[in-house]
């Protein structure tokens, strides 16, 4: 669904591509105090500060943001209330506010949901039609500038040209894309993520790993450099994930995860190769229907999808098993190694507190027909989804049943 990244129609060998990631990343302790001057540098003069719930307020982060804006004498309006799996309703509200007040810069203070909602407002404000057009296939060409202050390492939206929004009418979760919504700057302070509950930290880790696997599962041949970069970031997550779960205050582990999360999704390790995104598509129906954390949904989805499609390219899964999970290669039976890698992923995700099946996720077996229908028949799809392999309704049903 992340269309810009999904060059699944590419050739067998490395494709031509353009990589353009002009976001200015300001990384480290106390960097949120620079938001006012960064907004000035990137041309903002009247700002919408967009955020989620109480934690940004309770932690004092919002006050520090206000102080920085006031020091630069930048007028601002506040719009809180973004929920996980951000909704279209608040986007419409934000667009109205921006137009009414002549706002020229959006500052997102939060995680992927807040940033994605901000990007939708940024694109919608300067567009004559309904912003949902962009989430129905139209490419975003123009938007207000967006800056971010990231509070969770997960979605990678701080460095990506993508946004995912849920349409409240029908709970349809869809993505939009365009260089115009890449953040002008992103402030990454790992310390801001130290107060996250363990479940959210773990869901973020899972989301980052999914962004890597979605790129790893490619049909493009001879893409050694991006294979190796993806493996490097997965190895980082495997090393640092358990360390932050054991000790949420570990600044260095938080910092490594935060940089990995950005690199995992600004596409520097996904260029020139076809990508998968079937796990994301299959998961989106779960978080749309049950409002579960996207990462938690991915933890259940990925092992099921990978087991189902493993035969399409056993050696690719064996490579991940050996290089990422440290499995011994079974040269006589590569499929044994391939499977061991998928099991290692599943066990890792369970070990950091992620759900293992529908029940733990809060999903219901009896909804599978509806999930399959929403997945394969809505938003212009004609009965299948495509990526690493093309999956029809029967395939998707079997995959959902593997999760029960």
């Amino acid at each position: 669904m992340i269309r810009s990244l999904c060059n699944i129609s590419g050739g067998d060998y490395i494709d031509n591509f353009t990589f353009y990631s002009p976001t200015c990343f300001v990384f480290g302790k106390d960097t949120e105090s620079q938001c006012g001057s960064l907004i000035r540098r990137f041309g903002g003069s009247k700002v919408l500060v967009h955020y989620g719930g109480g934690s940004v307020v309770r932690s004092g982060l919002l006050d520090r943001v206000k102080k920085s804006l006031e020091e630069e004498e930048i007028p601002y309006f506040l719009l809180g209330g973004v929920k996980p799996n951000p909704r279209s309703g608040l986007v419409y509200e934000g667009i109205s506010l921006c137009r009414k007040e002549g706002i020229d810069f959006i500052l997102a203070v939060g995680g992927g949901s807040v940033i994605d909602s901000s990007k939708a407002i940024a694109a919608g404000t300067v567009y004559d039609g309904d912003f949902w057009d962009f989430y129905s296939g139209k490419r975003i060409e123009k938007a207000l500038p967006v800056g971010t202050i990231l509070t969770i390492s997960a979605a990678g939206s701080e460095g990506s040209p993508d946004s995912v929004i849920t349409l409240e009418d029908g709970m349809l979760k869809r993505g939009a894309s365009g260089d115009a919504i890449r953040p002008k700057f992103s402030i990454l302070n790992p310390a801001l993520t130290q107060t996250l509950p363990p479940h959210q930290t773990a869901a973020g880790i899972t989301d980052i790993m999914a962004h890597l696997y979605e790129r790893y599962l490619t049909n493009t041949k001879e893409v050694e450099v991006t294979d190796r970069l993806i493996e490097a970031l997965l190895l980082t997550m495997i090393h640092e994930g358990p360390r932050v779960i054991a000790n949420p205050d570990n600044y260095e582990a938080r910092a490594n995860i935060m940089w990995a999360g950005m690199m995992a999704h600004n596409n520097s390790c996904g260029v020139g190769r076809s990508q998968d995104w079937n796990s994301h598509n299959i998961e989106h129906e779960l978080s749309a229907l049950y409002d579960c954390a996207h990462g938690a949904g991915l933890a259940v989805t990925m092992p099921a999808v990978f087991s189902y499609v493993m035969e399409h390219d056993v050696m690719r899964f064996a490579q991940a098993a050996v290089r990422v999970w440290g499995c011994q290669m079974d040269f006589a039976h590569p499929e044994v190694t391939a499977k061991a890698g998928i099991e290692a992923l599943r066990n890792f995700l369970i070990s950091i507190g992620m759900p293992r099946n529908f029940e733990e996720l809060g999903a219901r077996e009896e909804d599978i027909p509806e999930l399959v229908h929403m997945l394969c028949r809505s938003g212009g799809r004609d009965g299948s989804i495509s990526g690493f392999v093309t999956l029809d309704e029967k395939d998707c049903e079997k995959i959902y049943r593997l999760m029960v």
Copy 2:
């Protein structure tokens, strides 16, 4: 000497940093035909086309560039003649030409030398003083926009804020830096590198590996993500290097090396950590004095420097040996493993055709006192160079003698 990358005064643990790499990379076959429209997109209206010797002319590349500019009706001036280890004389000539003709965009067509010369012209044209001020420590804040068409994977200048120039008066080779000289766009067509002689290809591979090692040798603790990214790119070079030496027409191997070369030096894998750059500093005196290929000089320099400083952090060299070179860890004697990794690097570089010592490089033992003096006493240095470890004149002399 690459000052912007050399945060050697950093703390023990991950430092705050800013990462800003706004270059638009246009990668793949025939992409040079887009140079005219890219110059328009990035605001150029009168162009200096800067290049080196005959190969750009003979191959027809210069004609294709002219055609693209003419199709966009962009007037241009040609300035060829850039030599490896680019000289100050041509920079002064370029600055005069740009001022006289009101040129507002520099297009570099070539390798690192051409790009570095273009960056120097770009900064010098809009500066009232002598451009060499920037190569004596002054930071570049303003420059004409630069675009590049890369013809060799090596210097990484296509994605970096750096430039290295040799002052003809005294053959002093020094670097300058600043975001203002980061290219607006870089066209990376791996096919353009297929006609390089094997020695140049190998020297480029060595330069890329040196950019990675200079970042790997850090005193910053707990930098897993950048360690892993550097290792990923080294593994790519080890896999693809011998493949292009054996078959210069291997497009995929060329493509993997080209992307690795950019990623190795745009600092995405060097952020937040102290870096070394002593091997570069020690080599610069060799290529300044003997006009040898920078990469060839590095092939002789790196193993000598690493052997000399290995004891400073045996476990770091052991980590490289195990993770990059596939050595078995000797848990009782880590220094054995550390040394094996350095030997593996040396043997790899020899295997792709690089020189192993002073004699093969064309350097002379009797010049060592002069080399040491130039290295440690010129350009404001007071008798030592610093990086992973601080090296005084005695250390540097011993290191040069290890190369004999």
